[in-house]
């Protein structure tokens, strides 16, 4: 027989344990965040945003170097990915939510989840085999495609779930006034789910923007800005996550510093996207 007192002591002990483990786990995680922010902002300077990286010698001789080509490349590659991923992801999401009776639906759901669960590095290998090998060169396009592989399953999932939040009665109301199904989806369901859709794009974009693994052997990296803008798409391009990795494992102290700067820029970019996504969802709740 346990006395009430004993049970209450046990209750308090468990509560204490939970509090303690929450704090002990949160502390190192917050330390990482704080460290990157502190070191990163310290390493930022003006030439970081205006100069190209160039050869290691440039940094070692104290000449101004930066990652302007990397930031431009990141934007290009990320948007190539987004442009490819949005139509496919949204289309698949529509099929998942609007045509539950379609016999391929369960297959699609399983395949989409499987694809989502696959390590990003395998998506890089896939893009390598599909784009880099036939083209014979590393390219921004291949990097964009690899990132699209990361985004597509996420967008399909978020599209499905945000369309599902719209009650069936709205669809039925549309059908009842004689609208065809496609019209109901496009002009009543999708607009109603607009915020959710955009939030999903943002989340997928942010996830892909932080990935380095799929870019290592697709867009490859480049120490300079391409001579012509087409070089951004059809030639090797630098991107922030991949450059950050190269800087961090390089043997040059100057490049390590620049790595911290790249880390804070990448982190800010990703966090801004996530905060935007969260603010959007919050707005929706009102």
């Amino acid at each position: 027989m346990k006395t009430l007192r004993r049970r209450q002591i046990q209750d308090k002990i468990m509560e204490g344990l939970l509090v303690v483990s929450t704090i002990t786990v949160l502390i190192p995680l917050v330390i990482i965040l704080a460290y990157v922010i502190y070191h990163g902002f310290g390493a930022l300077n003006w030439s970081f945003f205006t100069e190209e990286l160039g050869s290691p010698a440039r940094a070692m001789q104290g000449q101004p170097t930066g990652l302007v080509h990397t930031m431009i490349g990141t934007v290009v590659v990320d948007f190539i990915g987004l442009i490819i991923a949005v139509p496919i992801g949204v289309g698949a999401g529509i099929m998942l939510s609007e045509y539950p009776e379609h016999k391929l639906n369960p297959v699609l759901r399983i395949m989409n989840d499987t694809l989502n669960g696959m390590p990003a590095i395998l998506k890089g290998l896939l893009a390598f085999a599909l784009i880099v090998k036939p083209m014979g060169t590393f390219s921004g396009l291949a990097g964009g495609v690899a990132l699209a592989f990361v985004m597509i399953p996420i967008i399909a999932r978020t599209t499905e779930s945000s369309l599902m939040t719209i009650p069936w009665s709205i669809r039925e109301a549309g059908l009842a006034i004689g609208l065809p199904r496609w019209r109901v989806v496009l002009s009543t369901v999708m607009p109603a789910a607009k915020t959710g859709l955009v939030t999903g794009f943002l989340i997928a974009f942010a996830r892909a923007a932080g990935e380095a693994a799929p870019l290592m052997f697709t867009s490859f990296g480049n120490n300079y800005l391409p001579n012509h803008w087409t070089g951004m798409i059809f030639g090797p391009v630098d991107t922030l996550p991949q450059r950050l990795y190269s800087l961090a494992i390089s043997p040059y102290a100057q490049w390590h510093q620049m790595g911290w700067a790249a880390a804070i820029v990448l982190l800010s970019f990703v966090i801004i996207l996530f905060v935007a996504a969260r603010l959007l969802t919050r707005q929706k709740n009102y």
Binding site: S21, L26, P28, L130, R181, P241, L244, F274
Partner: protein, 327 residues
């Protein structure tokens, strides 16, 4: 006026409003959906095709059991060191992360006041959003040197003085190695496991908690008897999905594990995982057999991830609870 309305209503509908509009829309959706299915199959097929050279050379079993990875001299490739490295780091990371992550999930869901819970949850989401390379740079320049000074060196010195026979097991304390990578992996999957635990706990109906309270249970007893059993499927599958994440996690591990391609591995010493070897060598690989062997590692990673995902899906289905909320 009336006549125009009537006229408009009686006008024949534009084509897209008749049957083929719907058909077209469905076809487009299905094609886009099919492209995802095609993508999943393409991944399997590409990895299989590209790795065929290596698998023919060494045989599937021979490749998986091969203990030597030598791209420089003898061109012999075996995956066992990487399989081993991946399994040890992932299992270790999950073992470290599992209970603390669940603790945070329970604390946020059941104990914390609303405002505090919201802060912690947002923080967890924020931390989950930190890119792997950013964690990696912190690991390289802050965490690994610190571990080396404060943990590995003292243990190593102790072992050197008191139990020299342990030295090969402990390994060289360079800071970059299996233990460092495992701890970083654990930190990286904690937010993910926590979020999934939190979701599972959110699903527990209020009625279940109240029923336990009505029996005179204390808060912890309510959690143990009503909340955790109800959420166990979600928590378990969440843990397995986190395990899958740990297996596929690439950049931070590649930056911290030290990248040693051959046995023997030691506790503190360098090692390698399946993703880390691909990242390290794929860019520089020139030999066809070498490239193909890296693709074969990718194929093994694909199969393992597939199995882990399917197990998680199976657990969700098996433990999904229909009773308890409504009949």
């Amino acid at each position: 006026m009336k006549d125009t309305t009537k006229e408009i209503l009686e006008r024949p509908l534009h084509g897209v409003y008749r049957w083929w509009g719907d058909k077209l829309f469905l076809t487009i959706s299905v094609i886009l959906g099919l492209s995802i299915i095609a993508l999943a199959f393409a991944m399997a097929w590409v990895l299989f095709k590209e790795s065929s050279l290596a698998l023919n050379e060494f045989g599937v079993v021979g490749f998986l059991k091969g203990r030597v990875w030598d791209p420089g001299v003898n061109f012999v490739f075996g995956a066992l060191p990487f399989l081993f490295g991946t399994m040890v780091t992932s299992v270790g990371a999950l073992a470290i992360a599992f209970f603390p992550a669940i603790a945070i999930g329970i604390f946020v869901g059941e104990y914390a006041p609303k405002w505090l819970g919201a802060i912690i949850e947002n923080l967890i989401h924020l931390i989950a959003a930190i890119p792997s390379v950013v964690v990696g740079i912190w690991g390289i320049f802050v965490f690994a040197p610190w571990m080396r000074e404060k943990v590995y060196m003292p243990v190593f010195m102790w072992a050197a003085d008191h139990a020299p026979s342990l030295l090969p097991i402990v390994g060289t304390p360079i800071g970059y190695g299996m233990t460092t990578a495992t701890i970083i992996l654990a930190l990286m999957i904690i937010p993910y496991t926590t979020a999934l635990t939190r979701d599972a706990i959110r699903q527990v109906p209020k009625e279940q908690r109240e029923a336990a309270y009505a029996l005179g249970a204390t808060k912890w007893e309510v959690i143990r008897m009503a909340v955790l059993p109800y959420a166990r499927g979600g928590i378990l599958s969440g843990a397995i999905l986190s395990f899958g994440r740990a297996i596929g996690e690439t950049m931070a591990v590649a930056m911290l594990i030290g990248n040693k391609n051959t046995f023997p591995f030691s506790i503190f010493g360098p090692a390698a995982t399946m993703p880390s070897v691909i990242i390290n060598e794929f860019r520089e690989a020139v030999g066809n057999l070498h490239l193909s062997s890296l693709m074969a590692i990718g194929l093994a990673l694909f199969v393992i991830s597939l199995i882990v995902n399917l197990i998680a899906a199976f657990i969700i289905r098996k433990y999904s609870i229909t009773g308890g909320q409504a009949v």
